[in-house]
Each structure stands twice: as structure tokens, then as C-alpha cells.
């Protein structure tokens, strides 16, 4: 039954580092999520319109448009209140953390923290809390 709910859930990866983007894609796809990946905030703005993800794995510092700019531009809290956002950054500056939460982030996680197993657990925990 769990598998069924998972399989219908959509995750958008927004990450500019190709190696990490590929890794997250492989890890999350392995758990049968419907995964799409983009490389910056601008691409993410386009993707959310058609893909309407249940969860966004969002990096902060990216070329063209960063994660915080994306959150502001997409107006996530108003337009996509059901979409969960995990900010996934290797920066741990308090200002970024505060701003992420004020623009609708569900969690702020240090990228280097999560092993593949932990990433899957984190994603499933956040998605389950959506209910």
C-alpha cells in the first residue's frame, strides 16, 4: 500500500551540480517516485507549472536563478500550498535558513548530511507528513 502512494508522488529536483543531480535522480527513482530534474530556479519555474510536484528538493545557490529567488518568484505558499519543499544546501548561513522558512520551506537540510538511505527516509517522512 505504501508503494502505491509513493509511486504516485512526484518529486522535482532543482540542483545545479550535475553529479549530485544525477545521484538524487537515481536514488529517488529507485524508490519508484515520479522524478523530474532541472538545473536552476528558472527551469524550475517552468517545470512546476506542468509537473506540479508533491515535493521539491531545492538547492539554494544556483546560476541564473537561486533557490530563494525561485521560492519568491513561484509564490509557493500561495500558489502551491500542498507542495512540500526540502531546501537542500551546503550553506548553513542563518539568514538563508530564516528566509527559506519564511518562503515556505518545510525543512532545511545540509546536503552533505544525507546518505542515499537517509535521503530516502527524509523524503518519505516529509511526504507522509503531507497527508
Amino acid at each position: 500500500m505504501k508503494k502505491q502512494t509513493i509511486s504516485s508522488q512526484k518529486i522535482l529536483i532543482v540542483e545545479d551540480d550535475t553529479a549530485l543531480n544525477d545521484a538524487y535522480m537515481m536514488i529517488l527513482s529507485s524508490a519508484a517516485y515520479d522524478v523530474q530534474s532541472v538545473y536552476n530556479g528558472r527551469e524550475a519555474l517552468v517545470a512546476i507549472e506542468s509537473f506540479t510536484p508533491d515535493l521539491i528538493l531545492l538547492d539554494l545557490r544556483m546560476p541564473k536563478m537561486g533557490g530563494l529567488e525561485f521560492l519568491k518568484a513561484a509564490n509557493m505558499t500561495e500558489r502551491f500550498p500542498r507542495t512540500k519543499i526540502i531546501v537542500f544546501s551546503n550553506y548553513d548561513v542563518q539568514r538563508d535558513i530564516d528566509e527559506s522558512f519564511s518562503h515556505g520551506a518545510t525543512k532545511y537540510v545540509l546536503k552533505s548530511w544525507a546518505s542515499p538511505k537517509e535521503l530516502l527516509k527524509l523524503v518519505s517522512d516529509v511526504l507522509e507528513s503531507a497527508a
Binding site: 551540480d17 553529479a19 549530485l20 545521484a23 538524487y24 537515481m26 536514488i27 529507485s30 545557490r61 544546501s89 551546503n90 550553506y91 548553513d92 548561513v93 542563518q94 535558513i97 530564516d98 522558512f101 518545510t106 525543512k107 532545511y108 537540510v109 545540509l110 546536503k111 552533505s112 548530511w113 544525507a114 546518505s115 542515499p116 538511505k117 537517509e118 517522512d125 507528513s129
Partner: protein
Amino acid sequence: MNDFRRKNVSIFMSSVRLSSISSSLLLWLTYVSIGSAGCEHSEKRFIKLVIILTVICERGAHYKSYMQVRNITWQKRFWRGVPLSLVLIVLLVVTLFAAYTSQRANKTTARARLDDYAQQVSNELIYRQNDDETLRIETRFTDAYLAVYRGVETGSPIYSAGTEPRSRDVYVSKTTILKNGDRQWTIHLVADSAIVQSGLRKQPIAILVVGALFSVLLYMFLVRSQRSRSQEMEYETKLAVETTKEELLSLASHQLRTPATGVKQYIGMLLQGFAGDLSEEQVSLLQKAYDANERQLSVINQILHITRIENGSLEMNSTVFNIGMMLHDVVDEQQEAIETRQHSVQVSLPRRPVMYRGDEFYLRMVFENLLSNAVKYTHTGGHIQVALQRRQDHITIAVSDNGVGMTMDEQSRLFQRFARIDNELSIEAGGSGIGLYLAQKIVALHGGTIEVQSVPGDGTTFTVILPKNKKIHSFTREKACIIDGYAAGRRA
């Protein structure tokens, strides 16, 4: 940063120059108003001296703060200022000489004019009565030309031997020698004492007092405002340095973490079977690579924490939590390492749960470090004890082992940054020499201390003493981040 500093220094210097010019101007205006109200020459000279001294002091104060802002020492400033000072001294000497010469010339001219005048008009201005050697005054003339002689009766002696007025009564005092044929008179033009007392002198004294008071207040205000500005500048510069340091460090740690994160994901995927099953040997090798990468990430985090603690920018989250439960969690997390080394770990807690207010995240880091050290520095099959005790105004957490122990000398170096203790297990244990330094700083931020008791070969006991109900000022905003891998965000 340099641009920021330079910009601020230049703003500061403009404000110093402006205030200096305005204060000097006001002081001189005060002086002029006193002078024009009719002070005596000696008083004017005194006021001039006070003003010059005040301006010198003020300039000194400006330069002191200027040098503080630019980090220039007096010696440096002195040698840098020698050529300019020489030029200024030469200019000053030339000016003073010119002023002296012109004053002398003016005096000579004035005296000559008076002599000449006295010769020409002596019959009208002053006359000699009979054979009396006293010169008497003719008021018809003096009324017209010397207002101060008003009220003096015609025939009054200008000067009589033995009745010379006291010098402090002299308001207008001019002396000249009058020759008439073979006779010679010394003429003192002296104001009437009634006129002197009629209030003319009260005005300059009032102005002198008010003006001086005003100048002193103005001076104090300016010096004070400049001092506070200078302190503000110092603070701003310090803040800018720290912010830059913090940003640079965040950037550096980000750049270091990102490739390590990639390594972690890919090795993690291999270990977790993303590329098919692995042989035991492959798993063992990959696990070593994974662990090494984890150590690197942990060092990056520790360096970041240390820099933040030293900068005073570490932000803590003060919550009430069950410290016994946290100790159990810490032991559980290290169960794998404990089992690998075949240690037995005993956790003893008071019967009632101990609730403590502090930063759970950072305190957990402290006990993780203490336990991890105990595990690493105890030979296989050792015994480790974690004991929590509640006291009246504090709690103690003791982590004891029967490991390699330390000498007194080693104990004294233990909490120094990057300190490493060499013993038979240290190479195997690895470590960066940051953990205990960081632990001590974190405990200190909670108002507590870490004590150590150790006997070489017998074992070590680290005791963390944390005061209860201590208000901790460094706890600021809520930290809502997962660092180093503790379960779940701190804000859901």
C-alpha cells in the same frame, strides 16, 4: 573589505574635518565677540591662548581617533608628519615675525601720530596752569574726540604725582612724552574710575564666561561625538571583518562540502546496492572510503563551528530536553563502533528524568565527542560508563573509561586547539584535535566546565558540569538546520 574600510575612514575623516573647522570657527567667533565688546589686551591674549590650546587639544583628539581607525601608531605618524611639520613650523615663524613687525610698525606710527598731535593741539587738549607741572584737560576738545573723558571737568589734572591710578582701573591707558620747548611732560591718558565702574567691564566678563562655557561645552560635545563615532567605526570595521570571515568560511565550507557530498552519494549508492551486489572485500574497501569522506565532512563542520564560536556568531537554540534520553541516543548512535571494539557501555541515570534547558544540538555534539574519544582510546574489550547526576544547582555528566589514560602534561594540553595526544591508540583513532576544544567552548557557552581526571594506563574520566537555570546570552535565534546528521529538522 578594504573598500568598505577606506570608504568609512574617509567619511569619518570628513566628519572630523568638518567638526574641527566648525568648532574652531565658533571659538574664534566667541573670541571676536569678546574682543569687540572691549576686553583688555591682556585678557584678549589669555583668551587667544585658551583658544589655541583648545584647538590643539581638539586636533590631537581627532588625530588620535583617526590613527585608531587607520591603525597608525604615534611613531609612524610622527615620522610621516616630519616634513609637513617642518613646513608648518617655518610658516608659523614667518607669520609670527610678520605679525610682530607690523605690530611694532603700527605702534611706532601710532606713537608718532600722538606726539605729533599733542604738539599741534596741545594748547586745546591740555594746558599747563601757572607753573604747575600737572597737565590739565580741556574738555571741549576731549568731549569731541575721546568719549571716555566725558564728565571730566575742565581743569582736572590728567596726572598728578602721587595719585597715579591703580593699573586695574585703567581702561584706556596711553602714555606719551610731550616736549614743549625745553620742558617735558609725561602724559598718561587715564579714564575716570566712575566710567570704569559704570558697567562697561561687566559686559565683556559676561560674554567671556558665557562664551568660554559655550566653547567648552561645544568642545566636549564634539570630542564626545567623535569618540563615539570612532568607536562605532571600530565596531563596524570589526563586524565587517567578521561578516566577511563568516561569509568566506561559509563559501569555503560549501565548496569543500559539495564534492564530498558527491563522493558520499555515489559510494553510498554502491554500498546500498544500487549497482548490484558487492563482494565482502569490495564493501569493506568502499566502507573505508565512505568513512574517510565522513571524517572530512565532520572536520569541515567542526572548523566552521569553531570559527563561529570564536567570532561570537554561533547561534544557539535554547530548549528544555531530557538529557538522559539524549545520552542514551548518543550511545545508541555509536553502538556500531562500540560493538566493533567489543566495549561494554553502562549508562546510569537518576530515577526521575533530568530536564535541562540548553542547546540540545550542540550539547549532543559534546557528549558524542566524549563518548567517541572513550571508545577510541580504550583497548578492545574495555569498559565505559556514562553517569548523569542531579545536584542542587547543577548537573554533572561523567564519561569514564578504563583506557590508555593521560599524563598531567598531556591533560594540560588537552583542550587546546589542534592538540593531539600521542599514545599507542592515537594513530588508529585519527581525529583532528578540534573536538575537545569545541566541546569546552560549547559547555562554556552554557556557563559550565569540563573537568578531566586521568591516570596513564588506568583510564580517564571527563566530567561535564552544567549549571541549572542559567540565562545564556549567546542563545539567539532559532537554528533550523540539520548539521552533522542528527535526525529531523529542528523546526518541522
